[in-house]
Symmetry: C2
Subunit: 497 residues, 2 copies
């Protein structure tokens, strides 16, 4: 009898051979990656602490190939993990060991920009920034702007319901997508939503947005375009303590102002960003706020004056307003580079993503300080403060498994504290595999069962991105017992097939 | 053997007695209506052409009573039809002959207005306008404003994903609701969404919004409030033909303007409205546009100038701008009273509600004219033109069954033409029973099957508002064969229980 490792290897070889034979003629040459070395770049997404070699990677070039491939995999029982640019931060595109990673990167055509309708229709692999670039000629832009917008794809944005600094005013992906086309798990073509504001029947479009590739594979997206504001100006305000800065955020919103962006960075984040890009930030401040107003010039000027008045009344010690576009871009440069800047001060970081009521911002910052001592790790903070969305960056060294364990426990405590404060475990990065345990904390057993039933209504055989987002009953029971995140790979949750 | 009518009567008596006994002690005195004469006001909603006596009507006073009642009805197998103010226009609240109509009208408390968070939390029976009235003291309003806003409830708005003239800028109910609380079909308490922009997991909130009481019973709603604009001004423009007016609508949007409202009325609608309220409309125009801009005063002035320039360039023969608030309200008075005005020129009317791409507005108006000849009925047109949402009002006399039949066939043809032009059969009024047949036209069998599977994931026993929204396979097969709307009551679709 052969040893188990050999048996697994030959089982894998058999599956590979079946898949290769079935897909011959469907995909163009070079579009099916099977060799180990070719699979390495696909082992993880932006959540690099989790890695898994897929069975294979397919890179189809059009919708027809995607449909055919899905029908074949459905017949063979091969799990599918859809993938955009691989910039996701919660492991939504982490491969399945017996599954096909389905890259939509080559579906990268901008199909139409309709200025009269204020819409763009693009394939799923089109990059977020490319949509705004194409729309600019018509006087429009696509509002959701994740930090990764130069690389991330619209399909990935739909999967994760991505946000960005402009969400406070313009909404998340959900609020800017009108229609998607794609396929069900069995390869049946579907279309959700429509060109109007509302679509008839149950809102399956909204259900699919943010479903992390678990309900359907999206090949085409129609988005709403927003008129390019003729002017944008940015205010930077300094505060001597974070609680006062948090209070100023709430006061701006309560004054009826809707800034195009309202961001908070604490002292250490500011220092890291300043060292990285020299944005001219106030290094003495305990926290700085960035507040942008956009629109027609007279509107912007009036808003800026009102923002300035609220900030002054709420204890800002220094207020600067951008005088021209170059200065505005300089103000933002540090914030936009916060993540790489954090990479500059630590070998690795875990980017958390939870949401809390705005009034709890200051309380949360104090609690995070206590966690830094408890887990003996540093954390720098950058928040989409206007919508209460936190991005604490936990600094650690992944070469030390003990540090990774502590970083994950730290992250879990931030998420659970967010839930306790009335917030949620995900602001814009999704659940993926990263937050499976935290789902047990956020939702009741009845609510999780409802998620599972909806998943089953789309994908009864659990073939689309299985094991993500919805934790099993057993997992939650165990997590409840241990209540310690153990950094284990998530595949304990994978259904057998 | 007793005749069938007798058997049915005694079966009904038995059901009523069971229900009355089970609910004794749960509901306060007078909160369960059983007598025929008490049930008459509940026989229909705003779609008065369909009427059905319910088994009984319950009017609970708080969330706890709703939950208890649902658990009891679940045990007894009694269908539930949730009901708000009964102003819905597609028959979503049409009673079920063996079901309990569950009125949420007495859950009418405004629970909190949180100015710092920019949110309001209200019970499901709170009237739409009451939310804006309560928020005004804090400088906010609730944006979705259906014509029925003085009467319709937030719960009903959530069920139908209601819109209004402000949707172009501020979105539908879906875009303004953050969280709902309520119960599943079996009486299990649930909460969907959260206070942040995004909520973790599948977006069941978005799925429940617009689900017409088929997935859950909603008892509490948290909505986003919008800062009250300091100023709003309205432009009225006249056009000598509807095609030019339609073109001007598309040109305004393509110019990057986002008016707070952009409405089109044709000559006969204008005449009816003018006779009803004396708004000072141009009775010579083939069509008029109403375009409102709101915001800070300098912004409004600049926008109004840009709107005026586009209208002039696109063939407006007369342009008036409101000089003060009284004039602005007068400009809107005719549009806001369009539906009662139509009631003034015809014994009955059928208010259609479909959406088409903006560029097809003129084409659609010409097609509707041809349908008027085909069905020998008049139609007056009032459109949320900015978002391509049509409200043709088909005038008829319900006392003549032949006219009702023609009016329904006329309506079905408008819906199917909308689908053919790339639009959808529902803009903001929902499907209810009115558009069941048209669902067969809009959606493929696979898409309808997906709707049914999602419904089953929430309500496997089909107890919540059964027979609405999702047509049966048999119904669509028959509709495909006949393709004639026969005005039949929808209960052929009701599941047996």
């Amino acid at each position: 009898m052969r040893p188990p490792a050999d048996r697994a290897r030959s089982e894998r070889q058999r599956r590979l051979a079946d898949l290769e034979a079935a897909l011959a003629g469907v995909l163009p040459a070079g579009a099916l990656l099977l060799a180990d070395e070719a699979l390495v770049p696909y082992e993880c997404d932006g959540l690099t602490a989790y890695r898994q070699r897929p069975l294979a990677v397919a890179i189809p070039e059009d919708e027809a190939q995607v449909g055919e491939l899905l029908r074949i995999c459905h017949r063979l029982g091969v799990p599918i993990v859809p993938r955009g640019a691989g910039t996701g931060l919660s492991g939504g595109a982490l491969p399945h060991p017996q599954g096909l990673s389905l890259s939509l990167a080559k579906l990268d055509r901008i199909l139409s920009i309709d200025a009269a309708a204020g819409t763009a229709t693009v394939e799923a692999g089109v990059r977020n920034l490319a949509v705004s670039e194409a729309a600019a000629a018509h006087g429009f832009f696509y509002a959701p702007d994740p930090s990764s917008q130069i690389a991330c794809t619209l399909g990935g944005n739909v999967a994760e319901n991505s946000g960005g600094v402009h969400c406070l005013k313009y909404g998340l992906t959900l609020h800017n997508v009108l229609r998607v086309r794609g396929f069900t798990a069995s390869g049946e073509p579907v279309e959700f939503g429509g060109l109007g504001l509302d679509a008839a029947g149950l809102d399956l479009l909204a259900l699919v947005v943010g479903s992390e590739g678990m309900l359907a594979v999206i090949t085409e997206v129609t988005v709403k375009l927003v008129p390019l504001p003729p002017l944008a100006r940015c205010v930077i305000a300094s505060f001597t303590d974070v609680a006062t800065a948090g209070g100023a955020v709430a006061a701006i919103v309560a004054a009826g102002l809707v800034p195009a962006g309202l961001e908070l960075m604490d002292r250490r984040m500011t220092a890291a960003a300043e060292a990285f890009v020299h944005a001219g930030y106030d290094l003495q401040a305990a926290a700085i706020l960035l507040c942008e107003c956009d629109g027609l010039p007279p509107e912007v000027d009036e808003q800026i004056e009102r923002v300035r008045a609220v900030l002054a009344a709420r204890g800002a010690t220094r207020i600067e307003v951008s005088r021209d576009e170059a200065e505005r871009l300089r103000f933002w440069s540090g914030r936009k580079n916060a993540f790489p800047a954090a990479g500059g001060i630590s070998p690795d970081y875990l980017c958390m993503d939870s949401t809390i009521p705005r009034r709890c911002l200051a309380e949360m910052l104090v609690l995070i300080e206590a966690m830094e001592r408890k887990f003996a790790l540093e954390c720098v903070n950058v928040f989409h403060a206007g919508d209460g969305n936190l991005h604490p960056l936990i600094l650690f060294d992944a070469a030390d498994p003990e540090q990774l364990r502590r970083a994950e426990a730290f992250g879990a405590e931030i998420l659970e504290t967010s839930v306790r404060l009335g917030g949620t475990i995900s602001g814009e990065h999704g659940i993926g595999v990263e937050k499976l345990n935290s789902m047990c904390v956020q939702f009741s057993a009845a609510e999780r069962a409802q998620f599972a039933l909806v998943k089953e209504a789309f994908d009864p055989q659990q073939r689309l991105n299985p094991g993500k987002v919805i934790p099993t009953l057993a997992r939650c029971a165990e997590y409840g017992r241990l209540h310690v995140h153990r950094g284990q790979l998530p595949h304990a949750d994978l259904p057998r097939f």
